[in-house]
């Protein structure tokens, strides 16, 4: 039997393996070790990140390689980018993706563009780990889903794992990658468990995964929406409708081939994305399929996203904000014309 780890443990294990293998891999971020220079604090009692994801790493690797930073995102994210271009392989933690507002220049104008601007002479093997997503009652400035911003930018790769096993393999691949990668971790998935292989393995960036095979429609879903899609697919199966759930896993590069092949088989496409709809990855994928796979479609492409609003604090509103399985069933019934699907939703 395979062992299970939480999403958080899987990320911790990937970081640990990468740091053991290559001493140029360092971590930095706000409280990634925690309690720097507090004399009485034993390293095992230190925070290890605000959510405890990097807990224990400072014990093994020391404070030279697990660096607490001041709350200075522009400073340390930019420093990580330049450390990457000059020989280190840093993993910088941007605690919440919302804080990109404090350091966007360093990512957008520096890290992502150095290689191109310098005629291919620079390499920036930087990984930025960051937490995203709604559902945690964390309100408007700690709940956003901002991967579309980076997907739009040439020069940086974008990874969004949905399972612990994927998180480990994708993080190891991201750290090994010679380009800057931003790695999105859904805060509501940290405590979710799943089987995770032992030892080192990588999952290539740019390779989607079919999380559930089916022949009647394709659901492309990102991050925790993969689980929403699987929940909806189980309910659809009871009605004899077999949905194929495709998890792109990386948004840049995007595995267009796997998505197009799935749509060619099922002839219907729904994309679920918890981000805001305008200029979203959902619409990017929809446009790509309309462009390259139009002839294989039997129905209009549907996207299911959050509304065009910030994330509300009130639990009553936040629950309405996020896409859920019921909304997926409603949309499927529109596509397939089966009113009885709405009844089960």
């Amino acid at each position: 039997m395979q062992r299970t780890l939480t999403f958080s443990q899987a990320i911790n294990e990937a970081l640990c393996l990468a740091m053991r293998k290559d001493e140029k891999v360092i971590l930095m971020g706000e409280d990634v070790a925690g309690g720097a220079q507090v004399d009485h604090l034993q390293d095992e009692e230190a925070w290890g990140g605000v959510m405890g994801v990097t807990k224990g790493l400072v014990q093994e690797f020391g404070r030279e390689r697990v660096l607490d930073t001041p709350i200075s995102e522009a400073g340390f994210i930019g420093a990580a980018a330049a450390a990457a271009s000059t020989g280190l392989r840093p993993v910088a933690e941007l605690m919440f993706n919302d804080f990109i507002g404090s350091c966007l220049d360093q990512v957008m104008n520096q890290a992502a563009k150095l290689r191109y601007m310098f005629g291919g002479k620079a390499k920036v093997p930087l990984t930025i780990r960051t937490m995203f997503g709604a559902g945690f009652r964390a309100a408007a400035q700690h709940s956003q889903t901002l991967y579309a911003i980076f997907t739009h930018m040439p020069g940086i790769k974008v990874v969004v794992p949905s399972t612990p096993a994927d998180a480990k393999g994708l993080l190891l691949a991201s750290i090994a990658d010679d380009d800057p990668v931003i790695f999105f971790e859904d805060k509501t998935l940290y405590s979710k468990s799943g089987e995770v292989p032992e030892g080192e393995y990588t999952i290539p960036l740019g390779k989607a995964d079919i999380k559930r095979a089916g022949s009647d429609l394709t659901i492309v879903a990102i991050g925790k929406m993969v689980h929403t899609a699987l929940e909806a697919a189980d309910q659809l199966a009871q009605k004899g409708i077999e949905a194929e759930v495709v998890d792109p896993r990386t948004l840049s590069p995007l595995d267009e081939e796997t998505i197009l092949a799935s749509v060619a088989k099922t002839n219907r496409l729904i994309v679920i994305d918890e981000a805001n709809p305008r200029c979203s990855v959902a619409r990017d994928i929809a446009a790509m399929v309309a462009d390259k796979g139009f002839d294989t479609l039997d129905a209009p492409i549907k996207t299911i996203t959050a509304p065009h609003t910030p994330v509300p604090f009130s639990p009553a509103l936040e629950d309405l904000y996020l896409p859920n399985a019921s909304r997926v069933l409603e949309v499927v019934s529109e596509l397939i014309g089966d009113e009885s699907l709405k009844a089960i939703s």
Partner: protein, 330 residues
């Protein structure tokens, strides 16, 4: 530069107001701590208990028209700026009767009618906002001032330096109030900041800068008085660093392993801001024990009523999800 507990006797009316506000903040935060532990409140909650003297000593000089910007640890600033306490509690519950209709929560609590420009989820978010409010006051010649409360963590953000510089070159009526509680989340100030005092950094921007004992509400009051007068009279910004301590963790749920046991005990007792103020009040015979006790009881009742109000209030209607994004959007 350090000022010690003052012997200046403040007017009784002021003292009663300050005592009551400090007790309101303490009791509000203690209640929120209990409610969060009981699972009645969700999300990220950061408590101000222990730092009462800062918000109260500064806001004692402000009118409803003056502005403040706040931080993720914003409940104390709200109360000191006389925001409605039942409305605050309802906001923390995410209810429709909350100050922000339940849309903002603890980290974005605001009341623009009281000049409270919002708690803030972004460390360092307040510096430019305070400059902007100060610019409005200056250009519209209202004599209003803007106070920017910020934590020691924020003094390493670029916005601190940009905000101080802007306020100085434009001579804005802004008072920057550092609440140096010793820790940015779990990271000690001494590790994260290259300066010995936050106030040292003000000199680089030619801003008058002082350090006060942030547990001593009278000392904060005096420093703020000078700063507010300077700002109102066109003298530009001031930086006040208040050395203080937060009694709870960075957020509710923080085990606080980075704090020493004796340091927590010290701040809960002899260095407690409310205890120190009580001592001052008794020394100067400004209130009797009975008078103070009556305020304590009155506030207890207010907090209980606030909780009841919050719990009995409705959640926002579903259509509220889509409102308030824009003023108009065809």
């Amino acid at each position: 530069m350090e000022k010690t507990l003052s012997s200046q006797v403040l007017p009784k009316e002021k003292v009663v107001w300050m005592y009551r506000k400090m007790v309101e903040i303490r009791q509000f935060e203690d209640a929120v701590h209990r409610l969060f532990a009981a699972g009645k409140l969700a999300g990220f909650v950061h408590l101000y208990a222990g730092e009462e003297a800062v918000a109260v000593g500064v806001c004692a000089h402000l009118t409803e028209r003056d502005y403040i910007t706040s931080t993720h640890r914003g409940h104390g600033h709200c109360i000191a700026k006389e925001c409605d306490i039942p409305g605050m509690m309802a906001e923390l519950y995410g209810k429709a009767t909350g100050l922000c209709k339940g849309k903002g929560g603890s980290m974005h609590i605001a009341d623009l009618e009281k000049g409270m420009l919002g708690a803030n989820g972004i460390v360092g978010g307040g510096f430019p906002l305070a400059c902007g409010a100060g610019l409005t006051a200056k250009l519209t010649k209202t004599k209003d001032v803007a106070v920017c409360f910020f934590g020691d963590g924020a003094n390493n953000q670029g916005t601190f330096h940009e905000g101080l510089n802007l306020a100085a070159i434009w001579k804005l009526p802004v008072i920057f109030v550092a609440e140096n509680n010793g820790y940015a989340e779990a990271t000690p100030f001494e590790y994260a900041s290259s300066c010995t005092h936050i106030a040292d950094r003000g000199q680089g921007y030619n801003i008058p800068s002082v350090i006060v004992d942030g547990k001593d509400v009278v000392a904060v009051y005096q420093a703020a008085q000078e700063a507010v007068e300077r700002a109102r009279n066109g003298g530009g910004p001031t930086l006040i660093e208040c050395k203080t301590y937060r009694n709870y963790g960075h957020f509710e749920g923080d085990a606080q392993t980075y704090k020493k046991a004796d340091e927590r005990a010290l701040h809960a007792n002899e260095k407690d801001a409310i205890n120190l103020f009580k001592k001052y009040i008794k020394e100067h015979k400004l209130m009797t024990d009975d008078e103070m006790e009556a305020i304590n009881k009155d506030v207890e009742q207010l907090i209980e009523e606030s909780i009841r109000f919050a719990e009995q209030s409705p959640f926002p209607a579903p259509n509220e999800l889509l409102t308030d994004v824009y003023v108009s959007y065809p």
